[in-house]
Amino acid sequence: MEIVHVYTKVRAEFGRQCMFSDRPAELLLDLQPDPSVGQTFVSRNPRDVAPQVCRAMSEHQVNTERFESSSCGMNHVEGGWPKDINPAEMEQTIRFRKKVEKDEGYVNSVLHLGSVMEHCSRQNNAADIYQDYFEEEEESEEGQETPFAKTINVFRDPNEVKRTVTALSWHPDSSRKLAAAYSCLEFQKSTRDMSLDSYIWDIENPNRPEMALKPTSPLICLEYNPKDSHTLVGGSYNGQIAYWDTRRGSQPVEFSSVEQSHRDPVYKIIWLQSKTGTDAFSASTDGQVLWWDVRKLSEPTERLVLDLSREGNLDRALGAISLEFEATMPTKFMVGTEQGVVVSCNRKAKTAAEKIVCTYEGHHGPVYALQRNPFFPKNFLTVGDWTARIWSEDIKESSIMWTKYQTSFLMDTCWSPVRPSVFFTVKMDGVLDHCVLSPSAGPQVCDQALYSLRVQDNGRFLACGSQQGGATLLEICPGLSTLQKNEKSLLAAMFERETKREKILEARQKEIRLKERSRSAQSREEEGGGGGGGAREEGEDSPDQLISNAENNFYNIVEAELRRRREKEEEENQEKDVCEEKEVKEEEEEEEEEER
């Protein structure tokens, strides 16, 4: 409905002066409310709104897109010549120069500058003013500065869908390249368009990976061949092993056949020491450890089933999550399992049954990482559930040292290759801890959970990988990466002491068990035989006597142990967690309860 107001004026009246006059208001139009229109609206709840006389503003955050930059060189060519002179023409340039040389201003300038210059030049020749004094003095150890790690670079997954960095491997020679394996470990979370690639990064260039490795299934673990720095071997999510040669491009040179490979994701693969330098072995949660020769990946050279009953039964096998192999002990290797047990195996054993040598129990959850101390190969470090534990090979009952229960899951660990008493751990809350045989909180590396960790061979740099696909490169402070005096001997003494303590505890427990068994055997004999009164009396007295005897013995031993430990603690000058003591006491108490 259009509202129109028509206004007419007689033509003869155009141009005349306006005569204004007053008149009462005239109703031109009256629009009545139309209730039918009201049906199309919904009434709102009355709300209190406080108006304010100011401009309505809204807060808005803007983040500029990351600028992709690339470096390139520029070629400088001669320039600066006046317009009429062509720098290529020798004649013109020479003529120009001769003209300048004749200029008087030039002569005066040069004479003046020459004298200044001579003065300085002679000065240089007279004495070396920048001589280094005190060059020979060694840098003394600085005071206890808080150790730190500085983030140098972050290498982000260039794909849209971010995957976890599940493994990292440093290039064996130059340490300038880092290979990272990307995959999504969460069950069935990988989407169809998730990229399968894993990348090799050059640490100088965090913008673009140097090379991409294209497997058919995402890689979970990746290792450079320590002997041949061009080859890599990787284990993938579908259980296959792939072998790359970086000189040949991104596609794998060879793939293992699906039937002969693992049936579960390959969690760890390690190169072996061999004459040909082409052997590797891999572990997976399907319970098998397979040996491969990378020249012929169609079937594994050897197979081991991690069945603790030594029957080779695959259904009862433990799933393997981590592997450990030390080149100095080529016949032994260790496997960390999902069930929290570390299995130590001998490679050279003849039968499969003999392959599994012994087991170490102690973790409540999967043993995510396992590594021997490079300086003390008899001791190894494991990480799983919320603790990191250090074990001695001889003591199978429990670890000799362990950290407090941390607040979040520990995912990976490694010893520092330079300092024997330092190891690094990464946790699910994104924190990288360094432990100088006692955990001290490290810097928060990133907000996302950290999954993998690898220290470079010279001990200065460390790379850790996160859940969102970012690999962070950190530089460790010099305090943590230089070997201190006496460190090796102190650490050796510490390990020995702890091992001895565990041995004593073990022996004590065995003794108690033996006594218990022999006494129960004795009392059974007596009851059965219905022997003399004396014997029966002994039998009746013995339970109470046993208990009180055991109690007394127990307290004596604990006291002796405490005394000994106090003395030892005074000797050493490194801190240690006191909860070990409490745990020991709890263990002993539990034994007591069992006996009763």
Binding site: E101, S109, V110, L113, M117, S121, N124, N125, Y130
Partner: protein, 96 residues
Amino acid sequence: MAEVEETLKRIQSQKGVQGVIIVNSEGIPIKTTLDNSSTVQYAGLIHQLVMKARSTVRDIDPQNDLTFLRVRSKKNEIMIAPDKDYFLIVIQNPSD
């Protein structure tokens, strides 16, 4: 003209001097004892450096001006004497 030659010869004959270049205010090398490509490189780069150094000195104190610039590096020392219209650049190997 002859004095200029003499001065330059004297500087050149000092112990450790590797090269002498005279550059004008536009960056054109007038006289040099090095080969052309090095001369051009030095002329271009040092020109910018001197401009920057001079402006730095004058920004801090407008009454001040740059009189001499020494750039000491691991392998040698570059000495630059600036003037209104010309610079004199001498590359010397210091006395060790």
